[in-house]
Amino acid sequence: MTDKELVLQVRNGNQHACRFLVAKYQGLVNHMVRRILLRNDVAEDICQDVFMKVFIRLSAFRGDAKLSTWIATIAYHTSLTELSRIKWRKDTSAEMLPLASVPVSYEPVHVFETEELKKILLAMIESLPVHYRTILTLFYLEEFSYREIEQVTGLPEGTVKSYLYRARFLLKGKLEKIQQNERAEIFVG
């Protein structure tokens, strides 16, 4: 079923189409919300808000952009609004993502196993600024093009490319530091 057919079915009031739409795009919305907010306690509620907005505004969907881009735009703006609300409240008692609790400072001896390093890398991604995190998620995880990321975030294509390069550069730099520590460990050992 194409996106146009799906939208038509949902507009006609087909409950199965509603369920199908949510199932198809819940991964995208979940990734965006969690990567932007970095909070598990509110993520599911925000995902619900996003989908409610999607259904309410579906009549305004003209089909100029892909449905995934349109939904990602709603998820992006909803998450940013919630993020600023959270910052305003300064709610420090919130439960953070378990991955974010992994210390970015590490001991080289702990970096032997792939899973351990993946956790450290994910914590590094979460320590990046929100725009970098969003762009990395859209580009690598959701495989959006530069043009689509531009439509979602409203950032010019050049800025998107530059943020993507800088985010990768930062992560690579941090990884190289781990590698150097590991080499030193071999040398000492």
Partner: protein, 132 residues
Amino acid sequence: MKEPKYLWDNTEEGSGNSINELLDQVLKSDCLIPLSDDFADRMAAKVVKRHILKQSLSEFLVYVGVILLAVLIFCAVFYFTSPEAWSRWENVLQPRWNLIVGLAVTGGFVFFADRVILPWAISGREKGSSFS
């Protein structure tokens, strides 16, 4: 002693490539906590309920509008065609205005419950139904 397993090629030439590969691997992997299994079902049910409420509320408002318009037209025609009969009825109804308002409000609530509250309450129980 167990030999430590290093994740990348520790030679200078191989390290750049292995870091890039590792980065790609992590960036493309879905390590985030997924939504609950029944998320799509709950979301669809919520949307259906909301749609039914919106639809039945607008239907109710149309019905109320039509009924009020009909009453208004009837009163206007009655008032202009036979003013004597109108004043007779006015004398009968005016002392009982609280009874009439009470009946109208009760009737309106029963109608509202039948057209809006009941379909909305039942909609959550009917699984797999279309809401068109």
